[in-house]
């Protein structure tokens, strides 16, 4: 059965490739730092299960040290000039989109095949890993197709991958680091503490105030944790179930579903949701690392108000 470990081997190889590509960029004075960073990450993917928890902890400190001391950075080498890219795009035309669409297409077809056909029962792929395995397959197919069609130089994919990787830099591992912070938060009891604080300030008697507190609690907790999933069980235990559902008789399906969506409004506003908010800023080479969040706040706040209204009206008056 294909499981996550197959992908870890593949991902380790890609990160090792980033290390090689980084070293090949002689215009970059930080190339050794870059190479060390990607090599450590490759090591984590290949050998993480054999290092032990403490070994992995030390590996994390090394990664953080390299990034925190600014030993990594982007180079200035461009493999092709703007003119060459323009001419290449004129020569290949819209067919250039085909390899780019292979990855989403593989995800699409694969998801359908493994959810709605007898393939589902064959246990070919670990169900928990299906989306990532399909991503891996898509990447491999797209790489093969583009090599056969475009015939790039042998190490072009390595060079281009590391060019992008180094322009994103530390942001690439930030989501994983935040997930580990979540594990520490849980071990130190942060969630229960916040739940206890929120639970202690419940207003008596007003359903609307309780609804607002529930939604704002979801938002604030999500902003802190970067993830509505961490907030939901805590807020459900503190307000959602005892006050809104049991004491005030709210519709549990609305309280549950729309409460989570109120939390998603918080996700739009927090740098802690790095993979949605910080990583794209790096990926699109924005000057302001909070540029994406700034663009989202004016959508998030009215949407939060709407969600509070839905909670109140549909939860208690329909």
């Amino acid at each position: 059965m294909i499981n996550l470990h197959w992908l870890y081997v593949l991902a380790g190889a890609v990160f090792a490739g980033f290390a090689i590509g980084s070293l090949r960029d002689e215009t970059n004075c930080k190339r050794w730092g870059n190479a060390a960073f990607w090599l450590l990450l490759a090591g984590s993917f290949w050998f993480g299960d054999f290092l032990g928890d403490l070994g992995n902890g030390i590996l994390v400190l090394a990664l953080v040290g390299i990034a925190g001391m600014h030993f990594i950075g982007r180079g200035s080498k461009e493999s092709t000039t703007a003119d060459e890219r323009q001419r290449s795009s004129e020569r290949h035309g819209n067919r250039l989109f085909l390899p780019a669409l292979i990855i989403p297409f593989t995800a699409f077809v694969g998801t359908l095949l493994f959810n709605y056909t007898p393939l589902k029962g064959l246990n070919l792929i670990d169900p928990k890993a299906v989306t990532l395995v399909l991503l891996g397959c898509g990447v491999i197919i797209a790489l093969v197709v583009s090599h056969v069609w475009l015939r790039p130089p042998a190490l072009a994919a390595v060079d281009e991958g590391s060019r992008l990787a180094n322009s994103i830099g530390w942001a690439m591992v930030l989501p994983q680091m935040l997930a580990s912070l979540g594990v520490i938060f849980a071990a130190a009891g942060v969630g229960t503490t916040i739940g206890a604080i929120v639970g202690a300030i419940i207003p008596e008697g007003s359903i609307l105030l309780a609804v607002i507190l529930y939604a704002l609690g979801m938002v604030v907790f999500t902003i802190i944790m970067g993830n509505a999933f961490a907030a939901f069980p805590v807020m459900a235990a503190a307000i959602g179930v005892p006050i809104l559902i049991h004491a005030d008789g709210g519709n549990p399906a609305v309280i549950g579903a729309v409460g989570m969506l109120a939390g998603f409004c918080g996700t739009l506003m927090t740098p802690m949701a790095a993979n949605f908010n910080i990583v794209p800023a790096a990926l699109l080479e924005l000057k302001n690392q909070y540029g994406v969040i700034r663009a989202q706040v004016p959508t998030a706040i009215p949407l939060l108000i709407v969600n509070i209204l839905i909670l109140y009206v549909a939860g208690f008056h329909l």
Partner: protein, 223 residues
């Protein structure tokens, strides 16, 4: 007695992010401080951090896509995305992003959340197309405006994903809601929950769509 000290770790994150220290450094420091204040010994904190990092490696797998995106960019993918949008009459940045928002919401509602995303579609396709359309409306873009159009492209992807995915029955967040409420003895089916994601999804489309139309107006005005 509840121990409130670990909350200092949260304060550390807020301050560190606000002062724009390297986020990896901020998060790692906050993790260690929180653990120590939660009465875990240092080596235990380090081991917990390492364990968490190792268990969450799957979060970082998405980046195996970079060699493909980089390779196609080398052959002019972004340029072609611009050419394509330039050839469509009436294409504006706002309209393009509204169409993308609708597609992203619908695909997510069908459970196809990984079909699109920042590395898969926004960087190679959506953002360059939005920039090209904005240039058609506005002429040459100054740094601030092109930054704004790119940021709105990323924002549109997020809004489409967040306010589409919960309509799908088997998505993690719906299962989490179901599981959390079940632990209090409240039994719901995923269908009962996901139906209630629809009103918010429609409102998200209307609110964000309106903002995209306003973006068009601003782009048109500054010409």
């Amino acid at each position: 007695m509840i121990n409130y000290w670990p909350l200092l770790g949260i304060a550390l994150v807020v301050i560190g992010f606000a002062l724009r220290f390297n986020p990896l450094l901020v998060v790692a420091s906050a993790a260690i401080v929180t653990g120590l204040l939660g009465h875990l010994p240092f080596l235990k904190v380090l081991a917990t951090l390492g364990h968490g990092f190792n268990e969450n490696r799957y979060v970082t797998i998405i980046w195996i896509i970079l060699p493909v995106v980089g390779l196609l960019e080398r052959y002019g993918l972004q340029e072609q995305a611009r050419t394509l949008i330039g050839s469509i009459r009436g294409a504006t940045a706002g309209r393009l992003l509204i169409v993308y928002l609708a597609i992203r919401q619908i695909l997510s509602a069908l459970g196809l959340t990984t079909v699109a995303g920042h590395p898969q579609t926004v960087r190679p396709l959506v953002a360059p197309m939005a920039i090209a359309a904005a240039e058609k409306q506005h002429g040459e873009l100054d740094g601030e405006t092109s930054e704004r159009v790119k940021a709105m492209s990323a924002a549109t992807d997020n809004v489409g994903l967040f306010f589409g995915e919960d309509i799908f029955l088997a998505i993690a967040s719906i299962l989490l809601i179901q599981g959390s409420l079940a632990s209090f003895g409240i039994q719901l089916t995923p269908f009962q929950l996901s139906v209630w994601a629809i009103p918010s999804a429609i409102c998200a489309f209307l609110i964000h769509g309106t903002r995209l139309l306003l973006l068009d107006r601003r782009l048109g005005r500054r010409k």
